[in-house]
Symmetry: C2
Subunit: 298 residues, 2 copies
């Protein structure tokens, strides 16, 4: 099977698990439930849960204890997109070729849908305690990482710094840009790898290495995104290109140029592959996935 | 000591605990942290954590395992107020006599501050596992209740139904109005009582009774709020009165009239007091607090 077929299969597997946790669209709150489900079903490769599951496999993890966390992580990622797209935030009307949540359901319902998704992420993750064979200590540690990397000292911190600069019409310096990329993009990749390891029984030293690998992958991924916004194909991406330039946004590319950006993305992903290759367990697909993120043309 | 002095003391005690969990206003995300802390420090009586702590005491609870949950519950309540007040939601510029978060920090930062508070609630609650003497099973159950009552089948569901009707300019029928009150207002009072009981070792039957008592208190509290919006004193309330009428909002008072509303609030709180009085442990302050919520003139 080609890498692309494997990835497609794994994406579908994650979606089966994810959709099994979605609420039924009924009752007096059915509109917000529709808005939540619409947001979750907008597609994407489900990279974060795939990273989580493949790391879990690499450390010999077995059973369903990972499933609630796969769903929870994607719910957190989805909530962040719904709120990012709001009129008062980035005001994006399309994502992956589809109308964004606030365009379909209105701004107020999109705020509530994002809130609902974030809250549901924690309700869902807690179900891991019920899985047979769940080691309570590991589930507790995984919940700490899930919430820590989503919050102020993770994704939300990076997003807030980014929005703060935009609203003040200020450009970030090198340090700020790195902070934003590490947190806004890197943090959820970090927690995906870490939670996969933790639930499979990785020790603290290994989890620290996963945290480092996740950071490198996240940065490489963000740089690639910035490159694609300049060189990408609108139809393959499912969103307009050139939006960074149009919004006068400082990116890795505007700060360092296309050539250095490409080289840095390559170097970062090589370092991540070095860390992943150093673990006793092997996972060929996981390494292919990291490689595929750099130089991709989606 | 008078009841009012006791309440003031207990509010201050909760605030000391709550503030000890607030993040330092530093780093690249300092603006959103300021917005979060501003929102939390807006005051109020901290009724939900007081209900939680007094129920914990009533069931003989000891130690600090309750502290992270006291803070988490107030963080959830605060996030819901910050998002409710947004321009795209209720568009309220003042609360408790103070400018609301979006007026001071802008709409985008207020969205992020609310998100940050909700996420921090779960980060904070997880710290209960670290407290000496924490019974893991009880903490897990308390987290399930915390998240369940805050989400789709609790506060967020009620809030979403309410907003959905407002945006559609439709009036709720009796059943819908009850659903909204039970969930938007009742759910967090329910979880406060339930978590207090759970962490102190109450059994499932007792927790069910607490759930019922919380519902009754929440409904009585909401009816009183609707009454005060008609009969209250603007200066004591710290917000404009008559806003329901101005917004053409269906409330308990517009549906059933002032007289029946007053009688129903009385009846509901009496039933709650009956449940609370039936437990072997006693808590005079808790009962006084329930009584004080009906016929209050703040």
């Amino acid at each position: 099977m080609t890498f692309e077929d494997q990835l497609k299969q794994k994406t579908e597997e994650i979606e089966r698990i994810l959709y099994s946790y979605l609420p039924a669209e009924e009752g007096f709150a059915s509109t917000v439930i529709s808005a939540m489900n619409y947001s979750v079903k907008a597609g994407g490769k489900r990279l974060r849960p795939i990273f989580m599951k493949e790391t879990f496999r690499m450390f010999g993890g077995k059973g369903k204890v990972i499933n609630p966390f796969l769903a929870a992580q994607e719910l957190i990622h989805t909530y962040s997109l719904v709120h990012d797209d709001l009129e008062v935030m980035d005001n994006d009307a399309f994502r992956r070729g589809r109308k964004t949540t606030h365009v379909v359901y209105g701004e107020a319902m999109a705020v509530l849908a994002g809130d609902g998704l974030l809250n549901m992420a924690y309700e869902t993750a807690l179900k891991a305690f019920e899985e047979s064979g769940a080691v309570k200590k590991r589930v507790i540690r995984a919940m700490e990482v899930l919430s820590g990397k989503a919050g102020l000292y993770g994704m939300l911190g990076g997003q807030s710094a980014d929005v703060g600069l935009e609203k003040a019409e200020k450009a970030p310096d090198e340090q700020e840009l790195r902070y934003i990329h590490e947190n806004k993009t890197g943090a959820l990749i970090q927690s995906s790898l870490m939670i996969g390891g933790i639930l499979a029984g990785a020790d603290e030293e290994e989890v620290e290495k996963l945290e480092r690998a996740g950071l490198l992958i996240g940065l490489a991924f963000q740089i690639e995104d910035d490159i694609l916004d300049v060189t990408g194909n609108e139809e393959i991406l499912g969103k307009p290109v050139g939006s960074d330039q149009k919004n006068n946004k400082t990116t890795y590319v505007t700060m360092y140029g296309l050539e250095r950006a490409g080289l840095d993305a390559q170097r970062l992903s090589e370092e991540a592959l070095g860390i992943l290759g150093g673990f006793p367990g092997k996972n060929k697909f996981l390494c292919q996935l990291v490689r595929s993120l750099v130089g991709r043309d989606r």
